[in-house]
């Protein structure tokens, strides 16, 4: 007899979602995680006394609403804020405001406004098609069975319904880069780079990298997953983690925090459980990992426990990130040129031109500090004062174009980069530096250590077509099962991967139940 039907590695959002669906179906499930709080990347941390930040993910824009409903996360305490506009800050204070399908400011003309509506319309159609694929297990192209055929038929009908023009456009742009697509559609430079930002953040890419159209479309699926734009979670992202843990426990899941898995245990030719750093071993019929594929296979299972071709695939799996987090404690609400105090609750972005973004990629590639960065800023305490002492504020920014390991080392590099980032902010918010009472820069290698994500990549592996859909994370380990008997994946490294979605966890649970491997 095993201790559990399934032990799930990682109490991140996908691990907890998977656990809840399995427990709902009557399975005995244990979730273990080395962190002391549930949620994984949906986490809140007091980084300096009195100031709490969402220290990994800061926006909720792609979470599948059906999961929120199925698991009654609202009843478990999840509250989200209002849908936010995106304001792309301009040096002259004439900011670009993107809200729904409308854009204003930064000198955008009516031609660009019309083009933006057309572009959004096109993206919406493509993203809808992707959502069809995202909500089911990825179909295999060979060795099909009826489940896969049905998905492919739905996809085929969806493609047909796009109409000739859109289908041609999809085929044409999906493999190219966001830089070329932006130049095809728009003339306004601020608009182009504001959109391009969404294609590169969280990746290891620049706007001219192939696959950036795909990563942009991936983000755009949020709208079809029932999410009305970008929102913040009240109480910080950790509240999402806590609500997921509460929902899971309500279904009968045991959530064991502060228990890091040291190894996946293989007995003879199948996985039979996990061992913890405490020395304890837990047996289970299935081990389901929400850790990223590299951590799961290389670090926890071990290359010597799988066939060599698979080890080679894991070794080739790309999981790098050029994205860091900047956390600031502010003694008062800062002033941004051209923004009202109420606008400070919106999503604020700062981007160089697309060429500037591409130029910034080069030093990053060669392990140097870039001169230019993109900022994706949340002053969460404006909408949620509970995050900072009264009258004071927290600012978090997702900063892109930060190397994983600069040649000068992070001891020397970090103060330099922090100063440079603050001076870039100062240009848009004069005086903000004087308000900073505490600051923290979390570089990709620190995100890797704190949240267990190889390379600091918060998609658990680069979002590119060669690592997506029926090839996520790699051939031979798709549809949530792996080439190793008894070991499944349910994290962002599995289809449809990437971002705070919950779909990998939900799809994995459904697939495991469908296969009947736990009955």
């Amino acid at each position: 007899m095993t201790d559990y039907d399934a032990v799930i590695i990682g109490a991140g959002h996908n691990g907890l979602v998977c656990a809840s669906y399995l427990a709902k179906a009557g399975k005995k499930v244990l979730v273990v995680d080395g962190r002391s709080e549930p949620g994984g990347c949906a986490s809140t941390r007091e980084f300096t006394p009195g100031f709490r930040v969402s220290d990994c993910a800061q926006w909720l824009s792609q979470f599948d609403q059906s999961i929120i409903k199925d698991l009654d996360l609202k009843g478990a305490g999840l509250t989200t804020g209002k849908a936010k506009a995106t304001i792309s800050l301009q040096a002259d204070g004439n900011h670009l405001i993107l809200e729904g399908d409308s854009i204003t400011g930064a000198g955008v003309d009516s031609a660009d406004q019309a083009a933006y509506r057309d572009f959004k319309n096109m993206v919406r159609r493509f993203a809808k098609l992707m959502t069809t694929l995202y909500r089911s297990r990825p179909p295999k192209l060979v060795e099909q069975n009826w489940t896969d055929r049905l998905t492919l038929i739905k996809l085929g009908i969806g493609l047909k319904l796009l109409g000739r023009e859109y289908l041609r456009d999809l085929m044409r742009i999906v493999m190219i880069n966001i830089y070329d697509v932006m130049n095809e559609h728009f003339s306004n430079a601020a608009l182009k780079s504001a959109i391009a930002l969404d294609a590169v953040t969280g990746t290891n890419m620049g706007p001219r990298s192939p696959n950036t159209v795909f990563s942009y479309l991936h983000r755009a699926t949020g709208e079809h997953l029932g999410q009305s734009g970008t929102t913040q979670v009240m109480g910080g992202m950790g509240a999402l983690g806590r609500s997921l843990a509460a929902a899971a426990e309500r279904q009968g899941v045991t959530v064991q925090l502060g228990s890091a898995v040291s190894a996946i245990v293989k007995t003879e030719d199948r996985v039979t459980g996990v061992s913890l750093t405490s020395g304890e071993t837990i047996s289970a019929t299935l081990v389901i990992s929400s850790a990223d594929p590299t951590t799961t296979f290389r670090d926890l299972l071990g290359y010597d426990q799988m066939e060599a071709g698979m080890a080679k695939r894991v070794e080739h799996y790309r999981s790098r990130s050029g994205t860091a987090k900047l956390h600031l404690a502010l003694s008062a609400l800062p002033t941004f040129n051209g923004l009202s105090a109420s606008q400070l609750s919106e999503r604020l972005v700062i981007t160089p031109s697309m060429d500037g973004m591409e130029t910034a990629l080069n030093p990053m590639k060669y392990r140097e500090l870039s001169e230019l960065h993109t900022f994706d800023i949340s002053i969460a305490s404006v909408e949620d004062p509970s995050l900072a002492p009264s009258g004071q504020h927290v600012l978090t920014a997702i900063v892109h174009y930060v190397p994983y390991a600069p040649d000068i080392g992070w001891d020397a590099g970090k103060p330099k980069l922090l100063n440079h980032l603050l001076s870039q902010l100062e240009a848009y918010a004069p005086g903000i530096g004087a308000l900073v009472t505490a600051s923290e820069l979390v570089v990709p290698s620190e995100l890797e250590a704190s949240h267990g994500m190889t390379g600091g990549n918060w998609h658990h592996g680069e979002l590119s077509i060669d690592q997506a859909l029926m090839m996520r994370p790699f051939p031979g380990s798709t549809q949530y099962a792996t080439a190793v008997e008894g070991l499944y994946l349910c994290g962002a490294g599995a289809h449809p991967g990437g971002g705070l979605q919950g779909l990998p966890g939900r799809n994995a649970a459904k697939e495991i139940l469908r296969r009947g491997v736990l009955s």
Binding site: Y303, D304, Q305, E307, A308, A311, E315, G476, A483
Partner: protein, 394 residues
Amino acid sequence: MSDFNREARLLTTPFHSRVAAMCDLNDWGNWMGYTTPNAYFDVELEYFSVRSTTGVFDLSPMNKYRVTGPDAERYLNRLITRDVTKIGVNRVGYAIWCDDNGQVIDDGTIFRLGEEDYRICSYQRADDWLAWNTLGFDVSIENESDAVAGLAVQGPTSCTVLTLLGCTDLNQLKPFGIAHYTFEGRPLMVSRTGFTGDLGYEVWVPPESAEALWDQLFELGRDYLIKPIGSHALELARIEAGFLQAKVDFMPAEEIVRVGRSRSPFELGLSWLVDFSKPLFNGRAALLKEQANGSRYRFAMLDVEGNKPAEHSFILKGDKQVGTVTSAAWCPTAKANIAYAQIEMPHGAVGDELVAEIYYQRELHWTRLLAPCKVIDAPIFKSPKRWQTPAPPH
């Protein structure tokens, strides 16, 4: 001659000066990038030296990899399909290795030289695959192909000749055993292995010893009718003895471009080399699946009527084409017309009666022959000397 591409120039083995001196026919071939003789003086006579006296074959172009380190045994056990722990120190094992799809990459011999010290002798270059296999293992791989020269010394008088060379008590060496000697101050290793199915040895020396070894062997072996043999004669001997040849009887899985052209161990009649009691080896999961669901092909050894070798023949069952021949020869000692074929399942079981569609030409005149053939269960040539210890005197 500026167009000459030096990279394309064939290499020579450490024995080349001696080989060239004895290659009366001057008939050369390209074996894995090396200049090697197809025949020295007469293919049939060379072949009969292996069966009746001693034949010497230069096998230096074989690839040799040294595998050392604390995880050497575990590493090899994951690499190959058989259980490497059953190969003792100073023993050799024939082995195949597969990719994750259970398709054969190559076959070769594993020499266990010490507790944590092995040599893989393979037909194909394997640097890349062996290197990928090191992930997760504390093991080091060294390509020592150029550091080890080798001769196959095969035939009934081979033990006597090598004993005269200084290989004391060689007759006590069991099949697949290894013995170590010194030759002119340098190490000389003998393994009782070979590709001919008879009593025979393989002799391994540093390249510096190569020419002296050749000279002394032929000097001492003169009275025992030692002869050099080329690749054509060896081909006859190995077909007669039932050995498969990579790139002839199967395509190495890593070289396959077209889907479905590689073969599994089961499809090559090598299931005896697959040990499922090992919990992990490359290809295990796929091979278990194949075992449950059935194979696509079957390896069949055919006894073909008549004396026309069924080279490249189609194999028919009634009117239906069910297979193709990969190797074929009229085998002089067994006096049998043998062919190896890949037969589509479910055909080709032992005893199955098939037809080989043979085409042959005499003075530009082509003849089509439909030769009945029968699937046999083992090579017709069986020499008891191959397995006898002490090695029988001639």
